[in-house]
Each structure stands twice: as structure tokens, then as C-alpha cells.
């Protein structure tokens, strides 16, 4: 690894070699341990990493977080109720019982009324056709 490649990696991934690409890690560590200039560059990058960590630690404010959560929940309670895309409610009581009863009633009605309707349709059929043709003749 050249010094330029080492510096490029430092400027991207920082001084922590665990974050470097696998193929560059060992070569990077070797160069840091053998080249004074690489060592100097690495120490500067390490100082910046430490500063990032210090900055990260300095900002936590848990009390503000609970205020934000409470405010979000107040707004959430005023949101319109979520519409569910779940169809299973159709098959749960009381809707499921109502649906079942309707289906059963339909089957029973069909069983008893079917033959009667079928017969009357057969009887009425020719009459209806005749009436229709008569009507057409009148129109002509």
C-alpha cells in the first residue's frame, strides 16, 4: 500500500482499522507501524475520530426525548382511525354469525323455492316470448 492509498483510506474510513475494507486492513496497519509519516497521519485521523466520539457523547438529552414522544402521541391520538385491510373481521362474531345465517337462509330459500320458481318460469316462458313478438308486430 502506498502512502497516498493509506491517506485516502484514512480520509474515508477513519483511523479505526476495523472499518477499513478487508483487503486494505493488514497493509494499512503495517504501513502505520513502519512509516513515520503514515503514523503521523494516522494519529491525526485518530484525534478526529475521538472528537467525533466526544461530540456524540455530549449531546444526549433524555428529558427532551420524552417530551417529543409525548407530543407525538398527542398528535397520534387525534389522527383518524387507521383503516384495516384485514378481511378476517368478516368471519369473526358478530359479523361472521350474521354472514353465516344469511348464507344458510339463502340455501334454505333456494332449496324450497327453487323448483317452484323453475316451474313457473317454464310456464311463463312461452307466454313472455309471444307477448314480446306481439309487441314487435305492433311496432312494425
Amino acid at each position: 500500500m502506498t502512502l497516498a492509498q493509506f491517506i485516502h483510506c484514512l480520509d474515508t474510513y477513519g483511523a479505526d482499522f476495523r472499518r477499513w475494507p478487508d483487503q486494505d486492513r493488514a497493509a494499512g496497519e503495517r504501513l502505520r507501524d513502519t512509516s513515520p509519516e503514515a503514523r503521523q497521519r494516522w494519529e491525526a485521523a485518530h484525534r478526529l475520530d475521538e472528537l467525533f466520539a466526544l461530540d456524540r457523547a455530549s449531546a444526549a438529552d433524555r428529558s427532551r426525548e420524552s417530551v417529543i414522544t409525548d407530543a407525538a402521541l398527542r398528535r397520534i391520538r387525534n389522527l383518524p382511525t387507521r383503516k384495516s385491510l384485514d378481511w378476517r373481521w368478516l368471519f369473526r362474531p358478530p359479523m361472521g354469525a350474521a354472514l353465516g345465517a344469511t348464507l344458510a337462509a339463502g340455501l334454505i330459500a333456494g332449496f324450497y323455492a327453487g323448483p317452484v320458481l323453475h316451474r313457473s318460469a317454464q310456464e311463463m316462458g312461452p307466454l313472455a316470448v309471444t307477448a314480446l313478438l306481439d309487441g314487435e308486430e305492433e311496432l312494425l
Binding site: 467525533f52 414522544t69 407525538a72
Partner: protein
Amino acid sequence: MTEDSDEALMRGIAAGEERALRALAARHLERMRRLARKTLGSEAEADDVAQEALIRVWTHAASWRPERARLSTWLYTIVWRLCVDRLRTMRTVPMDHAMQAEDPKPSALETLTRAGDLDRLAAAMRALQPRQRAALTLFYYEEMNGPDAAQVLGLSLRAFWSLLHRARQSVQQHMTSLSTGQS
């Protein structure tokens, strides 16, 4: 008592459990706020974004798929998109000016000996583009890996590394110039 997994919390939120949203906020809100604060440079704006993000989590919880993205990645993506929306409306306010707003609660650490370094870092971060700040925050503050951070910002991995490289170089250059300017 065992902690609920992210998946269990998200199931709870999708079922309308406020307790689950509180638990999720306790676990992730600090990091969500940090990304917003670093990107927008304002505590107040970051708080608004964090609040809005929690509402999005509540309304879209059922759409999160653990096999597609880690929860943290999904949450950061929501925060980043809200930040982008906010940056569009903040165009009229110069970013540097917006970022010089005083933090109402300076932390104890800022009074320590490295306070000068932290000030210089803050100034250097202010000089970056919002996307560069977000890249640095995700990689160095949140310790996300490159592919996840790239996914949050909607970039290819190659573009993300390039962005991160430029951002870190800019921070170093700004800090160096600030140090030499002060000495």
C-alpha cells in the same frame, strides 16, 4: 424482564399500542434526533423532525419488512427524508445562520478542556453540505456500515464512499484552517 425485540415493538405499534411506540422511542429516538440535528443544524428543527418521524412510524409500521431493512436503517431513512423536505423549505434561511443558533442547554462536556476542539468541529460541520453532514453522522456517530448508510441516503455504495471522503477531508481542512487562524 426481557426487552421486546424491534420486530415485537413494530408489531405492537402496528396494532396501535402506545407502549410499544414509547419503547421504540426510548431505544432509537436519541439517534434519530442526532441525525436530524447534525443534518439541519438546529435543535428545534431536529425536535420537530423527530416528532414527525414518530408519527410516520405509527402510521406506516405495517409497511416495515425486517427482511428488507434493519429497523434502524428504516428509521434513519424516514428521518433523512423529513430532513430533505425541511431543507427545501429552509432554502431562504442561510444554513450557516441557522446553525449558529445557540443550544439552549450546553452540556457539561462542552465546558471541558476540549471545548475549543468541539467548537471547531461544530464550525467545520456547519460549513458542509447537509448530505455530507448526514454521511459523517451515519458513519462516524451512528457507526452504521457503508451499505446501510448508502441505503438511507439513497446513494450507491461507491457514491456514498466518495461523499464520505469529501466530507471528512473538508472537516479536517476547516479545522486546520480554524486552528492556524486562531494561533
